[in-house]
Subunit: 244 residues, 3 copies
């Protein structure tokens, strides 16, 4: 362990081998941080709250939480979580491995997230969201949940595997972004989308199959993106994708 002398770390927190904790960071009681994880400066990890049922915060091995980030108790992240700066993550997030959360993103809690998901900067994930595997969500996208604000009804958004939501789109309550869909920038989407289809506009309309979109350099199809974009994915995954 490598804990900066200005960090405030609870005796009750479980901290595994080779964890590094930065200056001025606060680690509260109800936390388990697995091995080889870095928590940078000015973070708060394991903030207590009334909605966590006393569940601990679990941060998987080989994770990296950048500075000024806040995680509540009651959420869990499998290995290799990577965050930008100033992320806020509330209770009852259940996330898979290799999640990336960009700077300023805000996970409101009570949601499920699969493996290898990429949330870019300043993304807002409302409660009751369900996000599959290999999903990409770009800056200033909001997943909403209240069909008649303000009300007591929460209808979360579902985003299926490989789907992509471009910058500054709003996904309305109860919407299903289906497998492999692309939502264009600055759209608002409501309802159930067809798989592998482009939607854009506000309100969003069906534009075309994603297979119609070509890469700018004319090297081939832009979608499914997993055929050409491989940065940060494991070898065996890439092999599988190329053999599909």
């Amino acid at each position: 362990m490598n804990i900066h002398p200005t960090a405030i770390v609870s005796d009750k927190a479980i901290i595994d081998n080779n964890v590094r904790i930065g200056a001025y960071t606060i680690i509260y009681d109800n936390v388990e941080i697995a091995e080889n994880t870095v928590i940078e400066a000015f973070c708060e990890i394991g903030v207590t709250n009334n909605f966590s049922n006393g569940d601990k915060l679990y941060i998987g091995a080989n994770s990296h939480i950048r500075s000024h980030s806040i995680f509540y108790e009651g959420s869990s992240f499998l290995e290799s979580l990577i965050t930008g700066h100033r992320v806020t993550v509330r209770e009852k997030v259940r996330a898979g491995k290799n999640l990336q959360i960009g700077t300023l993103s805000d996970l409101q809690g009570h949601c499920e997230i699969g493996d290898f998901v990429r949330l870019h900067s300043n993304v807002h994930i409302g409660q009751k969201s369900k996000i599959g595997n290999f999903v990409w969500i770009f800056p200033y996208v909001v997943l909403t949940n209240d069909p008649h604000p303000p009300s007591d009804t929460l209808l979360g958004v579902t985003v299926e595997d490989y789907a992509v939501i471009a910058t500054m789109s709003v996904i309305l309550p109860g919407t299903i972004i289906s497998n492999g869909c692309l939502i264009g920038a600055h759209s608002s989407v409501k309802g159930i989308t067809e798989a592998n289809t482009v939607y854009a506009g506000s309100p969003a309309k069906k534009i075309c199959p994603t297979s119609k979109i070509k890469l700018n350099d004319e090297s081939g199809d832009a979608y499914p993106w997993r055929k050409h974009f491989h940065r940060g994915y494991p070898e065996e995954m890439i092999k599988l994708w190329m053999s599909e």
Copy 2:
């Protein structure tokens, strides 16, 4: 008082009974914090500036300011202010009681806010805004003020009682969102709206009276929301609303 040993608290600040101040928080000189208030970690309370005319920052009783928040001197908040994390509040905000300000929201100062207002996450309130009572503003909404940017003219937005502005809408300078209006998500609104009316789109158009919108569970009308949504409001207020 319960002040964390790492907090830096000015001798000149007025701090009432049973106030709790978190780790690494800085309280400057020109501040009054009323009783039973919690200021969490990493906050700056009462930042000096050139536009406050030397007015102090007043935080009413029973307030809760979450971590990493910044308040300038020269603003005042009546009792039971509650904030999320990383809120930024500049000088010359005059706010009533029971205001909630969500994580990442940015109040640019020089504005008026009534009682029981709810600002959700990442809301931007431009200078010269006037917000009534029982207003709801959802994530990524911006209240603007400059009709010809950049200019020396500031035309603030007015939001009247009970109005609701849904996610990621822009309210253009000088606009009046009238009593009980609902602005749909991802809209941009200009001009004077009719009371109790739905507007949506970019540019926003009049859609229908709010009374036409039914709750998803078919339990009745969605608006006025005060007839069915009561979380966090005082008993006597709810009684009044139900008897209207």
Copy 3:
């Protein structure tokens, strides 16, 4: 020098005369801060990273970086940089003098910025952006760069001198916002715009020459804004503008 006793300042950092460093701020090794600069509390200045080629962070004279801000090593800013709170600035930003960066703005690095540029609150500048001189970018604007997200292609946005981009607009990859253009609020823009022209909508359309827009108070033309808006610019610049 005036360094708060709780600040953590590397011996290797070069800090010129009359620099002030606030409480709990961290200054890393590979940094040069020129004279008369203020770095407020809770900042991180010169964060190491793998993409800076070992280049230092240079902050020009007479700068003011507000609290909770994060600057990576490998960027440079000429004199009189002013920031709001919680700005995030990554590596390989090359910026001119008198840049203002508003609260919560996020510069993703690998971009060029001219002199006297004004980025308001919560602006997101993607990698490969090129911003000229005297540009104004208003809250919640995003300059994107990936034409087929996710891909390995980065096509940055260009914003030419005197251009203005109003609140919550998305500028799509490879777009050129030409000299003196005005982009209306809540627009999405793609392609090459004509100089001194208003574009608005999503997708944005050409509206009219900027010269057609009059100031609200009927005192004259709203554009070019440099004919009537002079706050914060040097005397000789204003003289030049008035004699054009």
